[in-house]
Symmetry: C4
């Protein structure tokens, strides 16, 4: 379904480009972002308008971003911001809505080849950042190994395939800042230091997860969250995340 030719203009002028968010394809970013956000809300990832989602349209390269401050489970396609990419110029800015403060962080992922970036406030992510700090200090990353779900995480940019069951998963953690956009520098530094990571945890805040496309980003975001939750429960039950002595392990 294409946009009608006789769109009312005037007060819609600064929202130009209804065609950008009009598609009958449920997999189009304009339909998929509200759909995913409803799912993420029920998973507890975007409570209280927290978190965010962005998808790069595979046909046009444009980036679709959920706005700031909107209840994620009630979001509509008309709420979305659209950004030309790599020009990074807004093609669509809904009136009365503010762009997501995650925008520069999402762009950091897109600049490294991502096709989708998801930000959640999952409590499991927040608890992991606190448990790592308490046990291993503020400079430690989160490490865990020998969980089947680790195979849900891709090996790294440009590397085919996924992590193996025998691989140790490492997720960097950065410190939170007063303003979300001020995270950009340390997020990018973590991305450079951990070039194969598809996630960066933010202390007392949540996690950013991305992937080559929306399918991979969502799958990895679910896998990371599963692993964070399992790790918190393991900690409660006195079960270690890694084996201190790896000498006994046979490579698979």
């Amino acid at each position: 379904m294409s946009a009608p030719a006789n769109l009312p203009h005037g007060e819609q002028d600064d929202v130009s480009g209804e065609a950008l968010i009009t598609s009958s394809d449920p997999e189009h970013p304009a339909n998929l972002i509200p759909d995913l956000c409803r799912n993420f809300y029920s998973l507890g990832w975007v409570t209280g308008t927290g978190g965010g989602t962005s998808i790069r349209d595979t046909s046009t390269g444009n980036i679709y971003i959920a706005p700031s401050g909107v209840q994620k489970e009630r979001m509509k396609a008309t709420d979305l911001f659209v950004l030309a990419y790599p020009a990074k110029k807004y093609l669509r800015k809904p009136q009365n809505l503010k762009p997501s403060q995650c925008t520069p962080l999402f762009l950091a992922a897109f600049d490294r080849g991502a096709g989708c970036c998801i930000h959640t406030h999952s409590q499991w992510a927040v608890l992991i950042t606190l448990l790592v700090e308490k046990q291993f200090g503020p400079d430690a990353c989160f490490e865990i190994e020998h969980l089947e779900q680790i195979k849900g995480i891709a090996k790294g940019r440009g590397k085919p395939g996924a992590l193996s069951y025998w691989d140790r998963l490492r997720v960097p953690i950065i410190e939170n800042t007063a303003h979300e956009e001020d995270l950009t520098e340390s997020l990018e530094a973590a991305m450079e230091k951990f070039p194969d990571s598809y996630a960066v945890l933010v202390r007392r805040h949540g996690v950013y997860v991305w992937g080559d496309n929306v399918h991979k980003a969502k799958t990895m975001c679910e896998s990371f969250d599963y692993i964070f939750q399992l790790a918190v429960e393991m900690h409660k039950l006195g079960l270690p995340w890694v084996r201190d002595d790896k000498s006994g392990l046979v490579e698979g």
Copy 2:
């Protein structure tokens, strides 16, 4: 859709004002309250007909209140009470239903400028009131700091913007009473003592949360609940809610 002109009268006499609850706008309080209550039920906030919700209609100023004792996930617009405001006279009283015992407490929030007030029996809220009492005594309020979700809470009545990541969130706690309406005095006292707070916890009972409008009240209610849940989990894991020594913190 306006109400039909030839409404049957007689036994409907004391329910006057079907037009008050008849709207095709999903954002109208008559449609929104049942919709939100279904959501709140699935969040565990209004189990066993507990809790309540009230919205002030932005166009008329009338206050819509969910009734007492109705299963929240099965509520219908016809179940709603409507109160003229600030006159505080009933415009609509459904037959066979009782007004919410929360009514005077909701009015305490409306009298202080609220556009919506939500009352939940969330178990996280109840547990927080018990953990605070156990650790800090019956006079202590709940305090937590350095969580991103704190930014989901507004700064205070008449103050633009939201709390900062570096702010400490304080939520007063009042003691429960035998009858819900008897909470009014201590709720109002807590509102006066904590004029910037948008929530008051009730020991062994739940929480009242309000906001300038329904969007802000719902967003804050979710953010408070997220923070209460996270704080309970932090307590289980031996993670402190606040730093004893704040000298090392750099203001953001």
Copy 3:
């Protein structure tokens, strides 16, 4: 909608009475039981075909009972058994389905004036029976006080109103047996010993909850479950269920 006059007979002979389960009223037991069972499934009360539900039709007095061994979230009106009451003779027995083993236990509640009886396998109920046994021995009942949700429990048969915030809630616990129907005797004994109780816990099994009508039974079942869950969490956090010394309490 009444049943069509020309119902096919023959193989339907022993299922007589399609009219008993044919109603366009969503509150009719034939529609309400499948609806409630979907809800109970999502609450984790009837996992793996566990648990059961029965409602006495207010107009006919007939009792509608969910069958044994059917996936509760996929139940249909045609799966229901219907029993004349107080004659206790089957008016409708679906082919290929077995009546619920809970039937004699449900009847024990109906014989004491109930209009609806619900049986859940809620894990919170099971954990409470184990925590009570561990702390207070096999003969103790579950006791808790000073929770607002206690006001969701009615005072007792023939007594108007609900428990007060200051009342202590007591729920008897009976030992499980190999066969569900063998619980009948001890369930009835508990009902006689605790004539005001609307619930009986079954050790390592679950809980039976009933009420004057379906609304009250469902509301109390939710309130009991909320209280069981909260009590388990309180136990984990070292918070006592009752005050040892009640002398300091002021009656509300």
Copy 4:
């Protein structure tokens, strides 16, 4: 509804057999697998495309298997693989999708008379494998007794009826391998060693559950998961899974 006679061929050639997945019956495997997968997703069993489901069609004997790497809650009938059985030759292979790596493990269950096999990554299953290893060593199986939900588990292949409340449930645990298909040998060994078991746990991975038909497999998968969750919670609360001294127990 049968497939239209004039199906487009050409690029659909290697997907032959649209008729295999075209049915108006909601209980047909082609409709039931996507439906169940949505349910399993909401139960947290198939997060991040993990887990899998397979059903043997009772009329044709063909086996329907959910593909690898597809988001389970968004699966469509057209995504399904169909295998002739016992010939084990693909009748339908969707383009661009890979067969589930669980296929040889599912076949191990079908070769032993199963009508449906479900594989979940449930965190409760994973935690049980870790708690058993920690307490009883790597060779121990999971054992628990005296829970009503144990009656949700069938007695064993060819044995009528279900386990009794007084029976001890034993579930074998096998070690995880780098590649899912490499589990086949140890899964089959566990099936031979525990011929009456309808489930095999996989350390740090999840569980395989099967049954004579889809109804029984789903019911048992829910019952096992309920028992795993309850056992983890019991462990947190210091409640033992089995009584050391069974002398005091009276057989039911």
